[in-house]
């Protein structure tokens, strides 16, 4: 599903974020990217949805080299992926329903599809009765659920999560992980960058560990350390 071949990316001459990184993620896999801050986890995610382009090497998604993708095709690549962030990135002036509907609106889905799919995905994330709340009326965990609903409403092939439990207490984080696990079990590939030891150890999935831009460990059913 995702393949990186000898990818090097630096932000300036001094800072090299990734150095000659190669690895592959199969369809339906659940992969943790772990490592300290600045080790290149977020850069790896940003390469996968073409927020960044590598200097050397290539990034393949669903059989296509996305480095060669013309700028005008990038939106269509992104429609096959969902994104989740540590800070949720919800739109504060929109309700929960509108935040999720927004993802469908901007890709031109007709209204009857929106009316049907948004309640279904809110049900899935356990917020069926909170569609008309605003983000500030929700807890952190609930806000993250909204952002997962927004990422998943389009049934993407791939879900990219950047520290999704970083702002949550352990109990709430576990709830989020169970939700991601459920989404993964529908066949969606999940790539999650984290340094949350607890959730990695709890899940026992593939772990790719980075240190200063290099992969130092790639382990099936791994733990954080």
């Amino acid at each position: 599903m995702i393949r990186l071949e000898n990818v090097t990316k630096s932000y300036s001459t001094e800072v090299t974020a990734l150095r000659d990184v190669s690895f592959e993620i199969a369809k339906g896999e659940f992969v943790f990217l772990v490592g300290p801050s600045g080790s290149g986890k977020s850069t790896l995610l940003r390469l996968m949805n073409r927020q960044e382009v590598p200097e050397k090497g290539s990034v393949w998604v669903a059989g296509k080299n996305i480095n060669d993708l013309p700028e005008s095709k990038v939106p269509f690549l992104r429609r096959s992926m969902g994104n989740i962030f540590q800070d949720y990135k919800l739109l504060l002036n929109k309700t929960v329903f509108e935040n999720v509907a927004f993802a469908l609106e901007v890709i031109g889905r007709p209204r009857h599809v929106i009316r049907q799919q948004v309640p279904a995905v809110l049900e899935l994330v356990g917020l069926a009765d909170k569609g008309d709340r605003f983000p500030h009326q929700l807890s952190g965990g609930e806000q993250q659920r909204v952002s997962i609903a927004r990422a998943f409403v389009n049934r993407p092939l791939i879900l990219l999560a950047d520290e999704p439990t970083g702002n949550l207490d352990p109990g709430t984080g576990e709830g989020i992980m169970r939700l991601l696990d459920r989404i993964n079990s529908t066949g969606t590939t999940v790539v999650m960058a984290t340094h949350d030891t607890r959730v990695v150890n709890m899940m026992r999935r593939r772990v790719v560990q980075l240190d200063r831009g290099v992969i130092v460990r790639d382990q099936e059913r791994g733990v954080y350390d």
Binding site: P75, R78, R150, N154
Partner: protein, 300 residues
């Protein structure tokens, strides 16, 4: 498709409501600068009209001494009429002293000092001559001959006045054009800035849109519509202002209906086409300015 169109319009109007002050500022600036651009067109046109009228009208005036005898005047008249190949005999006009004085009262209305020196008794009467010869040197030659005639006080060529007016008009044309270009740039800048501020306030929204796969045009179009609307509203205001200015001006010039100044009136047809141009410039500048402003935020 319908969903996209309704989305674009909803976003446009929401943004209008959110940024009332900035929107008003952009509209007013574009209105003022478009009004100036329009006025430039009208001023240039008015001077062109005036010049054309002067060109095709009197170009030679033979002033007759106030003490000239009736025979001398008759002689000059005959001499002029004997040159049908150079002057338009049909349009040859003689203003006697009373008529000349009446004309002078208007011409020197703003110069009472000069007017006080003139009386219906000492003012020269005049022949207003319309040349038909294309070659102005022929006209000059004829004028020199008349200067020799008894009773002729002076021969004046409208060409000289024409040159002065022409230079003044040239200057006004350059000055007003420069001014309107500067103002137009200012207007585009302000609309651009309005949109940029609106976009900065919504950068989070734009980032989310980009990440869920909205195309750049999908994001850009509501902003361009907003700019287009601002430019268009500014254009409508400018048109209203221009119409008012032109009516006032036409009314004022009406008082000089029987003088050359009447040529300064611009026809309504021309005013209408200038208005259409203003609306076009307003809409285009607004949309393009916003489109450029938007592009800077789309690089996610």
């Amino acid at each position: 498709m319908l969903a996209r169109i309704s989305y674009a319009f909803r976003e446009t109007f929401a943004s209008f409501r959110r940024n009332v002050t900035l929107t008003a500022a952009a509209i007013i600036t574009s209105a003022v600068s478009l009004l100036l651009v329009g006025s430039t067109f009208l001023i240039q046109r008015a001077f062109d009209n005036l010049l054309t009228r002067w060109k095709g009208d009197v170009e030679l005036i033979v002033y007759v001494r106030s003490d000239a005898t009736t025979e001398q005047i008759q002689l000059i008249d005959d001499a002029l009429r004997s040159q049908p190949s150079i002057i338009d005999v049909e349009r040859l006009r003689y203003l006697n002293q009373a008529e000349s004085y009446a004309e002078a009262e208007k011409l020197f209305a703003g110069d009472p000092g000069t007017l006080r020196l003139l009386t219906p008794e000492n003012i020269p009467s005049q022949f207003k001559v319309v040349p038909i010869a294309e070659d102005s040197s022929l006209v000059r030659e004829l004028g020199e001959q008349f200067r020799q005639l008894a009773g002729v006080k002076e021969v004046a060529y409208a060409q000289d006045v024409f040159d002065v007016v022409s230079r003044v008009s040239q200057f006004i044309r350059v000055a007003t054009t420069a001014m309107s270009i500067i103002l137009l740039i200012v207007a585009v800048g302000l609309i651009w800035n309005t949109i940029r501020t609106a976009m900065f306030a919504r950068r989070r929204e734009i980032e989310v849109m980009k990440l869920v796969g909205a195309t750049n045009w999908f994001i850009r179009i509501p902003f361009m519509l907003e700019g287009l609307l601002q430019g268009l509203i500014g254009g409508v205001l400018a048109c209203g202002g221009l119409w008012g200015l032109n009516s006032a001006w036409s009314g004022a010039v009406d008082d000089f209906n029987d003088t050359e100044l009447a040529a300064l009136v611009v026809s309504d047809g021309y005013v209408s086409s200038v208005m259409l141009i203003l609306l076009g410039i307003g809409a285009l500048a607004g949309a393009v300015g916003s489109g450029i402003a938007a592009s800077r935020f789309l690089d996610v």
